[in-house]
């Protein structure tokens, strides 16, 4: 059953281009994710704490890749987020790009992404999970590069693809190590095999690979830079992929694998450091931004940092905070992104310095923005407040490094609060004069304010009903991650305690930063000019292209002699390697069996061959060639091969005559003018020739199978009535071979004829 929602969403994607072109309202396509959401919700609510619904369809089972799916507390929660937010995003996108010629393409890709993401969180097989993982990277690439006529958008899309794709490769390596170590490819079995994995010698390698892959996907420092650049995508895409769902895939995987991998310094240490660094980096870079979407992108970084940090801590409270924070973030961040898109849609700008007082023109959007911003800021009674409280509670309950954690969390949350107000409050409630030339700003259509309002109201409702949410959603998710039920329930109000004090401190600090926001804006250029990992990326990509260009220039030079040289050098290397590696050097002493006549013929042939190589006179070359041919013919004659000698002499005579016909039309024979190059060519040729000499000598001592010659000679007269065995072999025993030879010659003759005929026709054309 779990495969069907994935297929249904993909099918909705396939029909969406046709729907976009037809007169059917496009937002009706949201019925597909809405149906999936309803079905998932009913299954999820029926699921008990710690229970799972698993199913398995075969695939490449012997290789470990099967279509195994599972609905558990945590994956199910994310699946609900994907289908729920996805429904709203489809409605929003239909309004945001209404009438756009590529709306169909956007929806197609959005649905494909949704299907892949749903598959990712429901997969129970690591190979299957990896396939979905890569599919989300590819659809994300296509969506970021949606405006493909824009060169900058293409570059940013490629950046997102390369960074997450490289991380994906590390992830695959980690998965393979993990699967072979845990002796299972099923996630639900791997998480039970934690002791086996931790005691394995490859534990360090596989954990590092998986953390790298997850960090690239979830934009952790230093691989964070692709996420703000991915804001080149249309706003519905940013709201869905780059805040609510895809960037959470890394966090999802880390949480899911934590029972198998945690408990070591490598795990807790590296995740805590990564998370803290990302939290602070996002906060610092975010505070100087003035573009609404970039502000939100950097706060997404911060939140991803907090989530990673909480997984790194790994206590029950930490995991609980992580789930609450993740849920809260998905609700308010997608809402704020949509609000930013609505503002952009109506005013034509996303620059906060030009936005202000929009509450009068856009009252409903303003309410949605206010609710979402308050949740993000962590004001009670919103769900964001619950998340923040639990983060602080996690810190106060820590035995060691609690103070450091609290400092990082408080500072990070202060910035988040300031940024929430900047993105959600400032455009609507500040006194900055609106600067939208040529626009009469009015409220957006329902499809643009409805979805963010719905999400923002969810944030409020979840906060008010924290206990219920804790029971129905959070408790199941925590139990699925930690493999044991949660020991305490979720509540909004914790009484007067240290976390509450910290919340008050956060609020005061955040409001202070927000009040002074105009002082910070001018420093953006200076802070962004600091070279970071993105400049390393630029250099690497640039160098890669340069190396490829140079390599092509060397290997694909277009010069024939260079290709020949490469082939010969490779052959020589293989010859030499054979002798050096396996030995078998032949006997190189000149024996007493030397015969004068053939030795003279050999010297003659070799000398004439060298002469043909050196001679510059065309006639000289021909004479030298003739001498080589005749000397070899005489060698054949001496060594009992009269037929060969006859053939050789005939062919030799014909060749020389033909060359005579052609040769005087050719330009004079030239020598290589550069002595160094000439010497190199001779050295290469001599190396190959020497190797051939050695091979011939060695072959003489070799007989791998009994010869069939004896048999052929015995049959020659009795069976074929021929006294010349060579002739009998050619026309009888190997007649088919000879027939093939005739065909080859015929084709060659036809080729020659056609080449000559075209020349003749050309001449006639020129003459007439």
């Amino acid at each position: 059953m779990l495969l069907w929602p994935v297929l249904l969403l993909a099918a909705a994607g396939l029909i969406s281009p046709y729907v976009a072109r037809s007169r059917i309202p496009v937002w009706l396509l949201a019925a597909a994710p809405a149906g999936v959401f309803a079905w998932l919700l009913s299954s999820y609510l029926r699921l008990g704490v710690g229970e799972t619904t698993a199913e398995s369809l075969g695939w490449f089972d012997p290789l470990g890749a099967s279509l195994d799916f599972v609905l558990d507390g945590f994956g199910g929660l994310l699946a609900l987020l994907i289908s729920g937010v996805g429904t709203l995003i489809v409605i929003y996108a239909s309004g945001y790009l209404a009438g756009h010629r590529d709306l169909g393409r956007l929806l197609l890709l959005l649905f494909f992404f949704m299907a892949s993401m749903l598959g990712l969180v429901l997969a129970d097989n690591v190979i299957l999970l990896f396939v979905f993982w890569e599919l989300t990277s590819i659809t994300s690439y296509l969506l970021v590069g949606f405006n493909h006529e824009d060169k900058a958008a293409r570059a940013k899309a490629l950046q997102a693809l390369l960074v997450t794709g490289a991380g994906g490769l590390a992830m695959l390596a980690g998965f393979i190590l993990l699967g072979t170590t845990a002796e299972s490819w099923r996630l639900s079995e791997i998480v039970q095999a934690g002791d086996l994995v931790r005691s394995s010698p490859v534990y360090g390698a596989l954990t590092a690979c998986i953390i790298i892959g997850a960090a690239a996907k979830s934009a952790q420092v230093p691989l964070h830079f692709w996420l703000p650049n991915a804001m080149a995508a249309p706003t519905p895409v940013s709201a869905f992929l780059h805040s609510a769902t895809m960037v959470k895939a890394g966090v999802f995987l880390l949480a899911k694998l934590s029972p198998a991998l945690d408990g070591t310094l490598l795990w807790h240490g590296s995740l805590s450091v990564l998370g803290s660094a990302t939290l602070i980096t996002g906060a610092v870079l975010g505070i100087v931004q003035t573009d609404l979407k970039r502000i939100l992108a950097y706060t997404t970084l911060s939140v991803l940092g907090i989530l990673t940090l909480l997984i790194g801590i790994g206590t029950e409270l930490a995991i609980k905070s992580m789930v609450v924070f993740l849920l809260g973030h998905a609700l308010y961040k997608a809402a704020l992104f949509m609000v930013a898109g609505t503002v952009d849609h109506e005013t034509g700008t996303r620059d906060v310095r030009r936005l202000g007082g929009l509450r009068r023109a856009m009252p409903v959007t303003a309410v949605a923005a206010l609710l979402a911003a308050f949740s993000k800021a962590g004001f009670p009674p919103f769900f964001g407040f619950v998340g923040k409280e639990y983060v602080y509670k996690t810190g106060t309950a820590l035995d060691q490094a609690g103070t450091a954690f609290i400092v990082v969390a408080v500072v990070g949350n202060m910035f988040l609060l300031a940024l929430a107000l900047k993105a959600g409050l400032h455009p609507f409630w500040s006194k900055t004069p609106l600067d939208a030339p040529g626009r009469t700003v009015h409220e957006a259509p329902w499809s643009l304010w409805g979805p963010p309002l719905a999400l923002a109201l969810c944030g409020l409702a979840f906060g008010l009903a924290a206990g219920l949410v804790g029971e129905a959603l959070v408790g199941k998710a925590v139990a699925a991650i930690r493999l044991e039920p949660m020991t305490s329930s979720l509540s909004l109000w914790h009484g007067l305690s240290l976390p509450l004090v910290l919340s008050v401190v956060t609020m005061a600090g955040g409001l202070l930063i927000y009040a002074n926001r105009r002082l910070i804006w001018p420093h953006r250029g200076r802070i962004e000019a600091v070279p970071g990992p993105s400049s390393v990326y630029e250099t690497m990509v640039g160098n890669l292209a340069e190396v490829a260009k140079r390599k092509t220039r060397i290997l694909q030079s277009g010069a024939l002699t260079r290709y020949v040289a490469i082939v010969i050098a490779a052959a020589t290397f293989l010859l030499g390697w054979k002798f050096l590696r396996f030995g078998g050097w032949p006997d190189l002493t000149i024996g007493p069996d030397i015969e004068i006549l053939p030795a003279v013929l050999c010297v003659l042939a070799a000398g004439a061959a060298l002469g043909a190589t050196i001679a510059t006179s065309r006639l000289g070359v021909l004479v030298a060639l003739g001498i080589v041919g005749i000397a070899i013919a005489l060698l054949f004659l001496h060594y009992s091969a009269p037929d060969l000698a006859i053939t050789q002499i005939l062919v030799e005579a014909l060749t020389v005559m033909l060359l005579m016909l052609v040769v005087y039309k050719l330009p004079p024979v030239r020598r290589e003018p550069r002595p160094g190059v000439a010497a190199a060519k001779w050295a290469l040729a001599a190396g190959f020739g020497g190797g051939m000499t050695l091979i011939v000598l060695q072959a003489l001592e070799l007989q791998v199978a009994p010869s069939i010659s004896e048999q052929l000679a015995t049959w020659s007269y009795p069976a074929a009535h021929g006294r010349n065995v060579v002739n009998v072999i050619l026309v009888d025993f190997r007649a088919l071979d000879t027939f093939g030879e005739m065909i080859v010659l015929t084709i060659a003759a036809l080729g020659v004829l056609s080449l000559l005929a075209r020349r003749k026709r050309k001449r006639e054309d020129a003459g007439s």
């Binding site: 061959a609 190589t613 050719l666 030239r670 020497g690 000499t693 020659s716 007269y717 009795p718 080449l755």
Partner: protein, 116 residues
């Protein structure tokens, strides 16, 4: 004697390869011919050398005399000689055509097919 022949083959290969590595068309053809000769000699020598005893069945006999030359490699070399001739003729005509069309005989300058 084998050593002398093997050296001769090596030198033929060397000369053939040097010719192939030249940029001038005439040398390319010469290189092809020399390589063909060298390869034929390898097959011929590889079967062992027999002097003065061709594989012929004498009048009245049914099989060649004992110790006669091996006929099979000879048959193969014969085929190879003829095929080599065909190759030479075809290559010569093709190169000549290429020279006529392009107006030069520099093999390294044939780097683009578009211009022809």
């Amino acid at each position: 004697m084998n050593l002398v022949l093997a050296l001769c083959i090596g030198i033929l290969f060397t000369a053939g390869i040097v010719c192939l590595l030249q940029r001038c068309m005439m040398r390319l053809v010469v290189g092809l011919i020399l390589l063909g000769q060298a390869a034929n000699l390898i097959v011929f020598t590889g079967a062992g050398l027999t002097s003065g005893e061709p594989a012929l069945v004498a009048e009245g006999a049914k099989v060649p005399p004992p110790g006669a030359a091996d006929a099979l490699p000879q048959a193969m070399v014969l085929t190879a000689i003829v095929i080599g001739f065909g190759l030479t003729v075809f290559a010569l005509t093709l190169l000549n055509r290429a020279r006529e069309t392009s107006g030069h005989d520099d093999l390294d300058a044939f780097s683009e097919t578009d211009r022809i």
